[in-house]
Amino acid sequence: MGLTADEFTIQFIATLIKFAIVAGLLLQIPPLMVWAERRIPAMMQRRKGPNRVGIFKWRIYGLMQSLADTIKLIFKEEVVPEGAQKAFYHLAPVFSVFPAFLIAMAIPYGPDIHAFGTIIPLSVIRVDVGFLFIFAVSSLAVYGITIAGWASNNKYSLLGSLRASAQMISYEIPLGMSLIPPVLIYGSLDLNKIVEAQNHFWKWGVFLSPLSFVLFLIAMFAETNRAPFDLAEAEGELVAGFHTEYTSAKFAAFFLGEYVGMFVLSCLASTMFFGGWQIPFIDVQKLDELTGFIGVSAIFGHVTLMLKATFFMWLYVWVRWTVPRFRYDQLMSLGWKYMIPLGLVNVVLTAVVLAAVRFS
């Protein structure tokens, strides 16, 4: 790309602004989700949930509970277990935080903005091989869990981390395979191009490739170690799994990584199967020209994607309080014996049907 010096400056400043916005957004996810994860089950079970902590006299449904919890966590004493591998013990939370942030930056949060004589993409990281980047980085999340469990010198941690890492690597294969049919259908590895191709309601991935969506949804729950696949931290058996020995801010770091990871997969599900920033029956990309203001399309697209992602975040909580936990052998056989063959059949069938339609 031959960019002039001015364009480079604009792109660089735009990148910094986009980065600040997305990072600020991501840091709001864990407190909100912790709150939602206590209020929603309370609603389902007809109890109150946290409803006291607010600002001055306004209680705002206990929304400030998470803030209070965060402050409390940070000011707690840190206990390092005896016999822990010190360097790795301190490194593990870092490894569980940064992969989630890296993937979140690769998601297109809105249509491209045409401004200042250049095209500004609304994802912080825009690489041609978007998918390969996402899968390469998402694999790194396993390291945080493995290191945490191994370095803690605790049996519960070790068992939890072994379970979690085996589960995560097993479900990464169906997760990867479930996204191949959409790539075949839309013909691109670039996430933004895939969203642009879903410009009609009936072109959404969930209608063109429903089996992929089902596989992705199941793998999504398993990848983030959430119920019904939360064997890594099965409270009845393993206390808290791989972060049993972690206290104070390091404990919070694991939750930050987990919730950002959930949010990223929710965004990815909306992007691949529900049209990302596309609004049904409205051409979002034309909104700038129609209204005459630059950035209207970006705001509408962004809000749409966030609403879709919110639905998936809610689904996480809903499923957690509805479905009982799997047994470990059931979990592994579901992944290896059912989902991988189904994924392969899905890829071949999609390829044959597509070839019959397009090359006939």
């Binding site: 910094l16 940070i74 690489v127 990867g176 206390v239 390091k250 770091a253 014996k337």
Partner: protein, 117 residues
């Protein structure tokens, strides 16, 4: 602008954030260590053996199988990208590839590598 410059920025931010969270407690929290406190948690009972003992070989097997299947998934991505140019040739090629892969998969299945009991 090189598309990998943002990757570098985010990487530095992510690592710094993790490091800050990891170091925060050391500065802000109180510190009064006691030997009972730093014992690895085993439901309040004094610990019996060291934690780093032998683990099931199943986990290693899963890891090895994962590497094989994951590389194959990445290969499928590149094929999916080139699908429009390849045409029917691509479909037949992927069929051949799948037959070999499924043969290996059935071997693994028959040898009981995927059984957890």
């Amino acid at each position: 602008m090189n598309p990998y410059i943002p990757v570098l920025i985010v990487l530095i931010f992510g690592l710094t954030l993790g490091a800050i969270l990891s170091a925060l407690a050391a500065f802000l929290g109180p510190r009064n260590p006691r030997p009972e406190k730093s014992d690895p948690y085993e439901c309040g009972v004094p610990k019996v053996t060291n934690a780093n003992e032998k683990m099931s070989v199943k986990f290693y097997l899963t890891a090895i199988l994962f590497i094989l299947f994951d590389i194959e998934t990445i290969f499928l991505y590149l094929w999916a990208k080139a699908f429009p140019q390849l045409g029917w040739f691509g479909v037949i090629e992927i069929m051949v590839f799948m037959v070999i892969l499924v043969a290996g998969y059935i071997y693994v299945l028959k040898r009981g590598a995927l059984e957890w009991d």
